[in-house]
Symmetry: C2
Subunit: 118 residues, 2 copies
DNA sequence: GAGTTGTTCTAGTTCAACTAGAGCAATATG
DNA sequence: CATATTGCTCTAGTTGAACTAGAACAACTC
């Protein structure tokens, strides 16, 4: 699983890490039980602070995507092994439609955070 | 057009205002040429600073959704009058699928900001 | 026992968001 | 033309999340 980060992006670093992991799961690039690099390792290779990586891991655990324990590290949850094909299709459809209308990504995200669209 | 704001939300206030306007457009509740309240008016009724409202208006202008000029105020752009039915459908589909998988809204937004999902 | 890894604590820095107030520029209106 | 409205610009201060840094500690592996 490749995890990268863009320091110039407006998105928080811990969120970029979390999203990279979510993406890998949705794409099926990782499977349940797979182990992530330790926080100290990943922090070193991304040139970030350990706390930032741990913040990302904590976020993913609260979402149920990771199992995180001291001594052991972080592993992909069993519940994360489902089929995400429909989600990917829905995402692609939405992005295509949004682009067709000329909406910015920011605008689209704004709409999404207000769930009740009707 | 009803514009409300939640001061306790993590989302920036200016973004909440912008999204409220985007939602109204997507829902077809406002039509091209329609005039928004002046920044000072809206700031008063929402109990916010004028600058915060102007920030929202500026954002929407950069997205092409508003025409903003001094003396005149802010009006919905002509280009904003299109049909958003497909977008609403795509949004609903995505949210339903996301909920089915138990993803948090934050996780979904994270995925969306990385456009290339394939 | 030794090493690894996450957890918790304190502490300081940076930056976007927000607030506040003033004056200015463009537009509308009588 | 005079006045009011409205957005624009500038300065300035506050707040909180994100990030960094370092240390000690607890759970787990080997």
């Amino acid at each position: 699983m490749l995890i990268t980060v863009d320091p110039t992006s407006a998105a928080p670093l811990f969120d970029q890490i979390a999203t990279a992991v979510r993406l890998a799961v949705v794409r099926g690039e990782v499977s349940a039980g797979e182990r992530l690099p330790s926080a100290r390792e990943l922090a070193d290779s991304l040139d970030l602070n350990v706390h930032t990586v741990l913040h990302a891991y904590r976020t993913l655990r609260e979402e149920g995507l990771l199992e995180v324990r001291r001594g052991r590290g972080a592993t992909i949850s069993a519940s994360a092994g489902r089929d995400y094909q429909d989600l990917r299709t829905a995402l692609d459809t939405l992005v295509a439609e949004s682009d067709r209308l000329g909406l910015t990504r920011q605008a689209l995200v704004g709409l999404l955070t207000h769930e009740e669209t009707r």
